[in-house]
Symmetry: C2
């Protein structure tokens, strides 16, 4: 058994998926398992990998369907809303939380404040064409943005509010990208099955004078989103 059975099944299932069109429904797992002559566990293993690869999409109580291609988002300091619209998709946002909390040690260091200092916490689910694709958690220092709670429409663009209303000028920033598994809470907010690979982006934005503006933790569904970075040549 050099090649696991579930991979053989996956390979054969890919052919089925390619014959069906986008959005087409797959036969039920139990039927597929019988057709392929494997157990349901093995069948699900193959399906699960195709879901992680973004080829299939499962909906409990309904069935499994051929997915549409992944979105590609820019890895840059631009508004989420504008980036999506530029690609012809309909952006959406849903506020999960907008409150003040006390910064823990790690967050305090990243924002260059003292542990325990108050920070704004803004947590929003990002939608594209009605589908949840990401969970964005933003932290901003209250001392620096005392009027944010009044000025910001939490369903609107934070980036726009900061630049247009509060006069913030974004400088260079850093973004970290890695894969993680979502917690059940995060998975539920993203309407994803648990243990689906996610892309975690961690951003620490600074203004033109190098002062921290915000700390952002964005969790994107790995089955639906990819990112594009623009590389700049070295000048040594």
């Amino acid at each position: 058994m050099s090649e696991p059975l579930h991979f053989v099944v996956k390979t054969r299932l890919v052919e089925v998926v390619e014959r069906l069109g986008e959005g087409a429904a797959l036969p039920p797992e139990r039927v597929l398992a019988k057709d392929f002559g494997v157990s349901r566990w093995t069948m699900r293993q193959a399906i699960r990998e195709l879901i992680a690869d973004g080829r299939l999409r499962a909906r409990q109580g309904q069935g499994t369907f051929v997915a549409t291609p992944k979105l590609v988002q820019p890895l840059a300091l631009v508004s989420y809303t504008e980036a999506l619209r530029a690609q012809g998709h309909t952006p959406g946002r849903e506020v999960v939380a907008f409150e003040q909390i006390a910064a823990d040690a790690e967050l305090a260091e990243q924002l260059n404040i003292a542990a325990g200092d108050p920070v704004h916490l803004l947590e929003r689910v990002l939608f594209a064409d009605g589908q949840p694709i990401g969970l964005e958690t933003t932290y901003l220092t209250v001392a620096r943005f005392p009027t944010l709670k009044d000025e910001l429409d939490p369903t609107g663009s934070l980036y726009r509010c900061l630049t247009d209303q509060l006069g913030v000028r974004f400088g260079a920033g850093e973004e970290l990208v890695e894969t993680v598994i979502a917690t059940p809470r995060e998975a539920e907010l993203l309407k994803a099955t648990q243990s689906l690979p996610m892309l975690l982006l961690h951003r620490n934005s600074r203004d033109t004078s190098g002062e921290p503006i915000e700390v952002v933790r964005s969790l994107y569904r790995g089955d639906r989103v990819g990112f594009r970075a623009t590389l700049h040549p070295q000048t040594p």
Copy 2:
């Protein structure tokens, strides 16, 4: 059952992992399952997620161990060797293939050549401190680099060879990042268990005049590597 059992187990297992030090061995799966009062399948589900998160590492025939933190690699046009060394790690490379193939339609378009034209294929496993962390597949047009096969030491830096020996000047490039599941072949080369989430980087480098230099498909172990991008402010 709003919270799946395997997640409850995962949460409790994290505490165990944190008490043990880096590199420490976990009890066998069967023992853990018994201790937690769950089936081995549920136990493995929890372990599998901690492996994907980079907290644990499993070695067949040996056991499961507490992992070291993820590496963070720059998402930039610099030599892999130099980047790793700058972080105090020992880089390594192993050549899997170095040959000529005919470009398929997609590759031909990306390299701005005709389908069927010969291209160099260089496939290498990248190591950090003796551990395989990535599989890099590079395609270069033979017509543009006819002497590459003679000039390049395939165990050395391709970037160095291109810039120093062949006079190539890298311009701006684009890099795509997404999560995928490795094929069994790729998983084997990376000594990873299958169905582990990977980070796929797809790069299309161009020189200063905009001509394509190379197409690179890099597959990194998502449990061991993260990436850092530097963001540049918009100038509208």
